[in-house]
């Protein structure tokens, strides 16, 4: 994974603003990014909010869960599954969506709008 310079992180919200085991959407440098907080350890994921199948901005409203060890989110419109760690669509190997760097510091959430690669 490419290392992203610290300065590109934007402060978004408090950790508790992301409902546990669910998501919210953030607007970061004009990009819609879905943020998720999952499990006992509050694992954080940031992934594009745009669902290429329905062409609607809805990923943050999907159900999260696991498939084997893979953490995933399921698009709420036509139910395609996406791997939260790398944006790969699990049902269609030809499709993937961007993920973004996200971290927590002092109870606040920071996200960068520069895609992971």
């Amino acid at each position: 994974m490419k290392k992203v310079a610290e300065t590109t992180y934007n402060k978004i919200c408090a950790m508790n603003d992301i409902p546990h085991n669910a998501g919210v959407c953030a607007l970061v440098d004009g990009k819609q990014i879905a943020l998720f907080r999952i499990g006992d350890k509050n694992e954080l994921y940031a992934i594009s909010n745009y669902d290429p199948f329905s062409k609607a901005n809805v990923i943050s409203r999907g159900i999260v869960g696991t498939m084997g060890e893979i953490p995933k989110v399921v698009s709420p419109i036509y139910k395609q599954q996406f791997n939260l760690t790398n944006g790969q669509c699990i049902d269609n190997p030809k499709v993937s969506i961007p993920t973004y760097p996200i971290r927590e510091q002092g109870g606040a959430i920071y996200v960068s709008a520069i895609e992971n690669c």
Partner: protein, 864 residues
């Protein structure tokens, strides 16, 4: 430039495109390059479904490929450029657009064109290729029916016309007539022959079909040959027939058969059949070994195949041969067809006319129902050769399988088409079907292929889908696929896995038991004690529903929030653009003028699209996520409650007006509907639940199509259960007759809680009952006679639900914390800029991709 083998394809229709898909699947890129000429201005689209373009399907819907498919796969395509000639010596194709493209292998997939019979007119009509040109003033009103462009032209002239006429009463002609009728035209069909669909069905069938079609308002004229088209007196044109009669019409569509488009092959000197068609062998090769022909332009063994699936087979064969990967050969195809024409089911199988020497036939005609069924059997009487079915085509699959697989006929072949008796209906189960039986007709997947995928290790429907494509089209075959999978697994001694999902080794019923008996109150506890992993989109909503049915807590409580499915999470129904629709409860469909006005005012204030639903209430569309609590604040203020249109819950109790006003009414059906809707509102169930109450046996509320249906009698109420509309309609069964209201309610309580307790996830009451051993008799025993001794328990559970009801929206708008969840962005008050509405018929609707593009939303946002 490069040393790759160059494949050039002429024609980007259904078959030309399938050929490219076959190459893509073979990972052609290292060794081949592909170029294709596409004469039409649209890339390959679903011509078979062309008529749906008139029912609101768009070009994008009909397109056979995702946006950017060719670019991504490195396929070069020249859109709107027609290939004009082939120089076989130099191996070059020249196009109308001036291109000269070299090929190593050439594939012709030029399809066919509609044949237009030579007819004299005062004005002269010319047809170049298949497009009509007239040297008069209104060429736009004479058409053919083949391409999206043709349909655009027909639509445009229909808007200026009243009468439409189709020349040709075959399959396509009738489809076209239906389209004209749906465009609001007074419609005629004219055929030269004595009856309709002469190719597929016999004269007697033609009579039954004609009667049905005329019933729908389309006028049929047979044995009429058009000899002259002149200007009309009352309408635009006058058709003069050779028997001296005439017909006037504003629009004329020719649908008099198709002819292969072999002109370019002809010019290049390839071998052409006597009646047209590019001659190919079983490798789909033409008389030039570097040139192939596939689809409707190809002539194999003296036969043209005017259907898409033989064309697809040819595409596969050509791809195998050209890439030298695979060994498929073309060996003919079954031309059986099943379709719905102007609302009439029609099917034709094999030798439907009985042309085989010595064949015998057996037919059955029911004038009351308007059905006609005929089978043609071999001279020895032991094989099925063909069949015709009109008005009811349930037997199609079985008969087609019998014909294709040369199965031995039953002793009394007539039983195959006689009205089904119960024994006969049980006749063809999955096990008796041969391996060649096609289970998924969308993707031509046979029983054998499905069985093989299980042998190769598939254990879930998902794996079967990936391995065979079955069940990824219309989905109509999914139940059969699942049954087949279960059968095969059971045969192999594999335990059929009935686990809810990978996180819980239990069925839904078992989880319900655990939650209820152990008093488990949230998902985390259940997962810790009985599951593993983190849950998924299958178990989470299922458990949320069970928790709600047991304890009835507010579903947006923090610990339940993430479990809820899309719609439950926002207490509204998500639409295709990510906005929501709102359906307030209108119990029994009864609404005061004040409330109706209030609803209108609120819709106007928030600029929402309004529509009356099929459930006797009003749906408000186009609410943005962040507006939901604000709109509901207004709705709650004037006394509306959630209608649970978003939940697997009670939806509506439909009513007819009943004895209060209606001269036939036996009881107050509206009163009862309001009462039971109020009683059961908010109840969460394995799938959605619908009810209805009719005031007499005329059944205006369609109660027998509902999960719970009630019909008034002079003595009380009849209770029906487990009806269904939707995909697989089922008439409800009578559970008990002439009940007084008290017993009626008691039985419904028990029925509902028994369903909640024992059904599978997402199983409506109809399939639930179908799967209960003992069927409705078992239900009667449990509900009326209390054979399991649980009646009181069930009633108690229902009482708890009723006592703890709360309007979810009322609770939500009152909580500032919960309202935060509806913000579009956690860090901004902006709104989703990809949600754009345009106006149609005086109201908003979501903009299409093209409209968004025109409105200046960036291409990336629209198309990527």
């Amino acid at each position: 430039m490069n040393s790759k083998h160059k494949i050039v394809i002429i024609g980007n229709g259904m078959v030309g495109h399938r050929f490219i898909e076959e190459l893509v699947d073979k990972d052609f890129r290292d060794n081949f390059s592909i170029t294709t000429f596409c004469e039409e201005k649209n890339l390959a689209y679903d011509r078979v479904s062309l008529s749906t373009y008139f029912n609101g399907k768009t070009k994008e819907d009909l397109s056979l490929m995702p946006e950017g498919y060719y670019e991504e796969n490195g396929v070069e395509i020249f859109i709107g450029d027609k290939a004009e000639s082939i120089d076989r010596k130099a191996k070059v194709v020249k196009s109308a657009g001036g291109r000269e493209v070299h090929y190593d292998t050439l594939v012709l997939a030029t399809g066919s064109y509609p044949f237009v019979p030579p007819i004299q007119g005062q004005k002269q009509y010319y047809f170049e290729g298949y497009r009509a040109f007239e040297c008069g003033d209104h060429k736009q009103h004479i058409h053919v029916y083949r391409t999206i462009d043709d349909l655009d032209a027909i639509k445009a002239s229909a808007s200026k016309s009243e009468i439409g006429t189709v020349i040709g009463g075959g399959l396509l002609g009738l489809e076209c007539a239906n389209a004209l009728k749906n465009l609001g035209l007074k419609t005629h069909v004219v055929d030269r022959g004595p009856s309709l669909m002469g190719v597929q069905i016999d004269a007697e069938g033609g009579i039954v079909l004609r009667a049905k079609i005329e019933e729908s308002g389309v006028q049929v004229h047979t044995s009429k040959s058009t000899k002259l088209i002149s200007s009309g007196k009352e309408a635009r044109y006058q058709l003069q027939f050779d028997d001296g009669t005439y017909l006037e019409t504003d629009i004329l569509v020719f649908s008099s058969g198709i002819r292969p488009r072999d002109e370019i092959a002809r010019k290049a000197g390839l071998k052409i059949g006597d009646k047209g068609g590019i001659v190919i062998d079983s490798e789909c090769r033409t008389s030039d070994e570097d040139i192939f022909a596939i689809g409707e332009c190809a002539l194999w063994n003296g036969q043209i195949f005017g259907l898409v699936s033989p064309g697809y087979k040819m595409a596969g064969v050509a791809a195998d041969i050209i890439t030298a990967q695979g060994d498929r050969r073309f060996e003919g195809a079954d031309m059986s067809t099943k379709l719905k024409l102007i609302g009439v089911d029609v099917a034709s199988i094999g030798d439907s006319h009985g042309r085989t020497e010595g064949s015998r036939s057996f037919s059955f005609r029911d004038e009351l129902k308007g059905t006609y069924k005929k089978i043609v059997i071999s001279p020895e009487g032991n094989r099925l050769l063909g069949a015709i079915l009109i008005g009811g085509v349930e037997e199609y699959g079985t008969l087609q399988q019998m014909m294709l697989n040369e199965m031995t006929l039953p002793k009394d072949p007539g039983s195959l088409i006689l009205p089904t008796t119960e024994e006969a209906a049980a006749g063809v189960g999955l096990d008796t079907l041969p391996e060649a039986a096609i289970i998924c007709s969308c993707h031509n997947v046979t029983k054998g292929e499905l069985m093989k995928s299980v042998q190769d290790g598939a254990t879930t429907i998902g794996e079967i889908k990936t391995a065979t494509c079955a069940s990824t089209g219309c989905g109509g075959c999914s139940t059969m696929c699942k049954q087949l999978l279960d059968n095969e697994l059971a045969k192999r001694g594999v335990d059929v896995n009935t686990d809810l999902c990978e996180h819980f080794p239990y069925t839904r019923q078992e989880l319900y038991g655990l939650i209820r008996v152990k008093g488990i109150r949230n998902f985390e506890t259940l997962l810790a004690e009985h599951g593993h992993g983190a849950g998924c989109e299958i178990c989470k909503p299922a458990v949320a529903s069970i928790l709600a049915a047991c304890w009835n807590e507010y579903i947006l409580k923090d610990e339940h929030y993430g479990l809820q499915d899309t719609n439950d999470r926002m207490l509204a129904n998500m639409q295709k653009d990510g906005t929501y629709s709102i359906v307030p409860r209108v119990a029994g469909g009864e609404i005061t003028p004040e409330k109706l006005i209030a609803l209108g005012e609120i819709a106007k204030k928030w600029n929402l699209y309004t529509k009356i639903t099929g459930g006797q209430r009003i749906d408000l569309f186009g609410a943005r996520q962040e507006q939901l609590p604000l709109i509901w604040e207004d709705l709650v203020a004037v006394g509306f409650e959630s209608g649970h249109a978003y939940g697997k819950a009670l939806r509506t109790v439909k009513s007819c007006v009943g004895s209060t006003w209606c001269r036939y009414g036996q009881q107050d059906s509206v009163g009862l509907a309001v009462e039971i809707e109020t009683r059961y509102k908010g109840l969460r169930t394995p799938h959605k639940l619908k009810m209805a109450v009719s005031g007499c046996t005329r059944e205006c509320a369609e109660a027998q199509g509902k999960d719970v249906g009630i019909i008034a009698t002079d003595l009380g109420w009849n209770l029906y259960v487990c009806g269904n509309g939707g995909m697989k309609p089922r008439h409800a069964d009578l559970l008990a007759a002439d009940l007084n209201k008290e017993s009626l309610i008691k039985y419904i309580d028990r029925f509902l809680m028994y369903y909640v307790r024992t059904a599978d996830r997402l199983q409506r009451t109809a399939p639930w009952l179908e799967n209960i051993e003992g069927g409705v008799e078992h239900l009667k025993a449990v509900i009326i006679e209390d054979s399991l001794g649980i009646a009181e328990q069930l009633e108690g559970e229902m009482a708890h639900i009723i006592d703890t009801y709360q309007c979810e929206w009322k609770t939500t708008v009152a909580s500032p914390e919960k309202r935060k969840r509806f913000r579009m962005f956690v860090n901004s008050d902006e709104t989703d800029n990809n949600v754009i509405f345009v106006e149609e018929r005086g109201q908003i609707r979501p903009a299409t991709d093209d409209e968004k593009f025109e409105l200046g939303v960036s291409r990336k946002e629209v198309f990527e």
